[in-house]
Symmetry: C2
DNA sequence: TTCGATTGCATAACGCTGTTCAGTCAGTTA
DNA sequence: TAACTGACTGAACAGCGTTATGCAATCGAA
């Protein structure tokens, strides 16, 4: 009965276990949120025991990291699918809105994305990739002299402030009812302050 | 030996205990952050035991609320001390920057300020007061027709997004080094997109 | 002045958490 | 068949927020 080379089969079973655990993690997070998640509840749900989860993922943070990297591919895909319209301003607008929508729809994943790793201040590689995608049209705009701030890095940080504010304000209990299209409004306000419209050359940039 | 009416003395001792516990709470929060805080460590630090803290403050959230209300008076004072310059835009700029500075300097207090209470989605009364202070010059600008969004409430929400983004992005581990004056840059960008310059004088230049 | 009630506080415990240790048991390999 | 290895578990540790119980002091009133 050794249709598979036995080593391969073991590897496949290993991958199956990992997948079961990750799926349990995701469903538990979705159902009960980050606060309601615990290793024991996960263990009970996915059929293994807690030490097995540790065997596969090291610790809780490692487990969440692994889940994040999996699901992050979706966001990256969505971001890359945003068409490269002729005006980079339009493109960046769509990128930002897509990012905010993702963050609001997946608050737990976003939280994992932004929370630096426990010991060192490192962030998951997916986060870097996302922001790299933002940086590209920003750079275009900078070269066209349309940025009203010092450089594209400053622009990226300002933008990130707005996006992060939008996402975490919604996620962590909005004060009252918020404007339905606050996403668009806030992003447009930020872009209006950050980037000059297309036609003009390079008017009085201010410090 | 009853120089005090005995009832008053009891009350004073009660207040002393409360103060000791609150001071222990604050110092522990400052030293070890929100994650490092625990009722047991607080108990050990302030000389009482954990149930005594519960006796005085109900539960952990109640304790943190009490601390917040105390310290919030400082922020409100600082905000009210911002002079009412002739251009409400300038005033609002200073208000925003003061708020951001407070949030960054007191990340734990800010977190308590913004995190809605456990059960119902209520926020501490201080938070409402702060935002009321923001709303006042916003309303002025709206009446002067200088707002580039629908109404002053929308403007307030957009502004809050930027402020919250600035504070929580710094607090929760900034991605890499951030621009030193990102506060000013981001606030100025937001204001530039949100508010038109004073109508009478030449447009385009600010500060 | 004595007595019951209230106040301030502590000891001990419950149920939960993340995590680790020591061991078991099946499957592979020599 | 014997040794080994990888997957897995039961039990435990230390710490968490919280609560039940109880004790000593103090108080208001008889």
């Amino acid at each position: 009965m050794e249709s598979q080379p036995a080593a391969k089969r073991r590897l496949r079973q290993r991958e199956e276990a990992r997948r079961a655990i990750l799926e349990g993690t995701e469903s538990l997070l979705v159902e009960d949120g980050y606060e309601g998640f615990s290793m024991r509840r996960l263990a009970e749900r996915c059929g293994y025991t807690a030490p097995t989860v540790y065997y596969y993922f090291g610790d809780k943070q490692g487990l969440l990291d692994a889940l994040l990297e999996e699901r992050m591919a979706g966001l990256l895909q969505r971001l890359r699918r945003v068409p490269a319209s002729e005006d980079p301003l339009e493109r960046i607008r769509h990128l930002f809105l897509a990012f905010v929508r993702f963050g609001i729809k997946n608050p737990t994943h976003y939280r994992l994305l932004m929370t630096p790793r426990g010991d060192r201040g490192e962030r998951p590689p997916s986060a870097e990739k996302c922001e790299a995608i933002f940086l590209e049209p920003m750079h275009e705009l900078a070269e066209a002299g349309r940025l009203r701030v010092a450089d594209d890095e400053a622009a990226r940080q300002v933008a990130l402030v707005t996006l992060h504010g939008l996402i975490s304000l919604r996620g962590a209990g909005s004060p009252s009812e918020m404007a339905k299209n606050l996403n668009e409004i806030a992003v447009d306000v930020m872009l209006a302050g950050l980037i000059a419209p297309e036609a003009t050359t390079a008017p009085g940039a201010r410090a």
